[in-house]
């Protein structure tokens, strides 16, 4: 069975791009364009990994992470943060909150997928 990756990103074109690249690499991509949609998807199933944008229209990425963990999800699945913010303080916060990797936009989709593979292999 293909591992499921949840991609949370409010920019439809970036979401499409990441989803497409993941699917080409043999993953199942679940897509969410908002925080509430992401939580809904988490309620349905535990993904193998989450790719999470920090700035979402209804809530920020950290709240999604918190809510997911409160629901008993994401305890073992690694999280990759995808953000337009490259400030050291944001990156430090990501590390503190248990994010496995931090990607700054713009990024190379193939590198992101490579990172996903590596994290899943390690897990």
């Amino acid at each position: 069975m293909k591992p499921t990756i949840l991609v949370v990103e409010d920019e439809p074109d970036i979401l499409m791009l990441v989803g497409l690249t993941l699917e080409r690499a043999g993953f199942e991509a679940l897509r969410a364009v908002s925080g509430s949609e992401a939580i809904e998807k988490l309620r349905e199933a535990e993904p193998a990994l989450v790719i999470l944008d920090l700035r979402l229209p209804d809530m920020d990425g950290w709240m999604v992470l918190e809510e997911g963990r409160r629901m008993g999800r994401l305890r073992n699945s690694p999280v990759i943060i995808l953000s337009a913010h490259a400030s050291p303080s944001t990156i430090a916060t990501a590390e503190e909150r248990g994010a496995a990797r931090y990607f700054t936009k713009p990024f190379r989709p193939s590198e992101l997928v490579e990172e996903v593979r590596e994290l899943l292999r390690a897990g």
């Binding site: 409010d10 920019e11 074109d13 499409m16 990441v18 497409l20 690249t21 229209p57 936009k105 713009p106």
Partner: protein, 580 residues
């Protein structure tokens, strides 16, 4: 010991007797007599002039003190000499005035800070006794006269009153001067020296033998004149002296100006300028606060910034355009350090300029950071699609390729739109935009705008504009403003948008109103600044539309305003001149 009635001689300086063969000394005494009369009268005039200039309790007490002293001098000269020697009242009035002088001087001191209750009680009691004594005593003996025991006791009371009050004044002025600027300190110490000089002269004159032509008497007369001169200099230093004593404050001001020039942020302005500002007025602490009263920075001479919040201290507040400069100065500084406070005011103007410059630089930095951030999103897709196409081009399916190319087109268009808006903004700011001034029919402009930016599905635009309505401006730019306002309403407004025009005096007002949720109050005040968007504006628009609108409208000599629509929604009004 002479009677207190003879004390005015020092002030009055009338030589009544002289030893034979002592003409030189007598001549000297004569000259000094005239000099003292002039000196004390002048001092009285200075006190009065200072009071008229500065008002306030301190100036009033000083005017009173030196006015009384002048009265003693003049009355002593003309009243006592030429009056009826048997009439005690004239002499009594002079003596009362004489004991009032140190008391008024002491009250002048008290206006800067309350003396301790004990000192206040002693000062009051001694003065009361001295005044009462003068009135009760059947007659105050003239110089050289034999005195009753009562008169001797009275002389002791007066000497005690003088010495006590002058000592209090001297000590307080001298000590208080410590925590003040150079100019204030020197002025205060001059007054302290003058008080002591005056005291010594009066006491010795009263205690010395009644020989007015003696060397001691002449010396004491001279000391009195010197004290009067010191009082005058301390009270109202001449211009040259002020300039010389202002030197250190001026040097501090110069350093402050130099440091201000290189400050790049509000915090840096505060950090660099505050130590100098404190130096200018001899303050022990200084702080800069912004318009909302929040501290931008603070400085304290002893390094403990918290100490300035001490309960005893109410700072002097110098209002600035963008907040205020607070200085914790000594209690005497507002009176004695006016010159330095003037310098501080001129520094305040420069601080305002420096803050303006920092704010402008900050806005520019923010603008560049925002522009870069806005470009990041389309660039992410463009870059991602490009690398994906490069890596997988031979294995991509037709549907995938279509999706990628669609995203590429959309995001390149978005980047282009953003860059065009940025360039527009830069051009308007440089004043490089060519604006025509023509009569623009509004109804046609709105039609063209609606063609360029048609409403999305589910949104209706009602246009209520008289075909005859015109504005004065550049047709293309008027249309751009309407497009931006419409697009804004499509994004954030409700299902119905109204576009209307109305004549208002010499202008035409164009209104674009929607029935959406309206704009949150905290955003309304910064609405026309670049990159200010609502919290749910994620990825929609460049964040420059309204900023461009305002600049375009202003460049055409008009104005744009926002208000909440009734019952809900946003209402933008553009006011432009009307073609004749």
């Amino acid at each position: 010991m002479r009677s207190p009635g003879s004390a005015p001689t020092m002030v009055r300086g009338r030589v009544t007797r002289a030893r034979l063969g002592d003409m030189t000394m007598q001549q000297a005494a004569q000259i000094l007599e005239n000099l003292s009369l002039a000196a004390f009268a002048l001092l009285g005039a200075i006190g009065l002039r200072e009071w008229r200039r500065h008002r306030g309790p301190a100036a009033a007490w000083a005017a009173g003190a030196f006015g009384v002293l002048a009265l003693v001098a003049v009355a002593g000269r003309f009243l006592l000499e030429d009056g009826d020697p048997e009439s005690p009242w004239e002499r009594k009035v002079v003596v009362v005035a004489l004991v009032l002088f140190p008391y008024l001087l002491y009250r002048f001191m008290g206006s800067f800070g309350r003396p301790s209750p004990l000192i206040a009680r002693v000062a009051g009691a001694l003065t009361l006794a001295a005044v009462a004594g003068a009135l009760i005593l059947s007659r105050i003996p003239a110089e050289g006269e034999m005195r009753s025991a009562a008169a001797s006791v009275y002389a002791v009371v007066v000497l005690a009153q003088w010495t006590f009050l002058f000592t209090v004044v001297t000590v307080r002025l001298w000590r208080g001067a410590r925590q003040h600027s150079v100019l204030a300190r020197r002025r205060m110490r001059l007054l302290a020296l003058a008080s002591t000089g005056m005291n010594v002269a009066i006491v010795l004159l009263t205690l010395s033998p009644a020989d007015e032509g003696s060397a001691l008497n002449v010396a004491l007369q001279a000391l009195g004149i010197l004290a009067a001169a010191l009082f005058g200099l301390g009270l109202a230093p001449p211009r040259l002296l002020r300039l010389a004593w202002r030197g250190p404050a001026q040097a501090a001001l110069r350093s402050a100006v130099q440091d201000l020039m290189s400050a790049r942020s509000r915090e840096e302005v505060a950090a660099r300028m505050l130590p100098h500002a404190a130096g200018v007025v001899g303050a022990r602490a200084a702080a800069l606060v912004d318009g909302a009263g929040r501290a931008v920075g603070s400085y304290s001479v002893d390094g403990d910034a918290h100490a300035m919040g001490a309960a005893d201290a109410e700072p002097l507040r110098l209002p600035l355009r963008s907040g205020a400069l607070l200085v914790w100065i000594g209690p005497y500084a507002p009176y004695f350090g006016q010159d330095e406070l003037e310098l501080l005011r001129s520094l305040g103007v420069l601080v305002d300029l420096a803050l303006d410059r920092c704010d402008a630089a900050e806005r520019e930095r923010e603008f560049v950071a925002n522009a870069a951030h806005e470009l990041r999103t389309p660039l992410t897709t463009v870059f991602g699609v490009a690398t994906t196409l490069a890596e997988y081009h031979d294995t991509l399916g037709g549907r995938e390729a279509q999706e990628l190319l669609g995203a590429l087109r959309r995001q390149s268009e978005r980047a282009r739109f953003l860059i065009n808006n940025l360039l527009d903004l830069a051009q308007i700011d440089r004043g490089a935009l060519l604006m025509r001034r023509e009569s623009v029919p509004l109804a046609a402009a709105v039609r063209r705008a609606l063609e360029a930016a048609p409403p999305p599905d589910g949104v209706r635009v009602d246009v209520l504009i008289d075909e005859a309505a015109t504005v004065l401006g550049d047709a293309g730019r008027v249309e751009q403003v309407i497009v931006n306002l419409l697009t804004n309403s499509y994004r954030y407004g409700g299902p119905t948008i109204q576009v209307e025009a109305a004549r208002r005096g010499a202008t035409t007002a164009l209104v674009v109103a929607d029935d959406g949720p309206g704009i949150p109050p905290e955003l309304a005040s910064v609405l026309f600044e670049p990159f200010r968007r609502g919290p749910d504006a994620q990825g929609r628009g460049s964040g420059l539309g309204l900023a461009i609108c305002r600049r375009l409208v202003e460049a055409m000599g008009g104005e744009i305003a926002y208000e909440a629509n009734s019952p809900s929604g946003a209402r933008f009004t553009v006011r432009l001149g009307r073609a004749a």
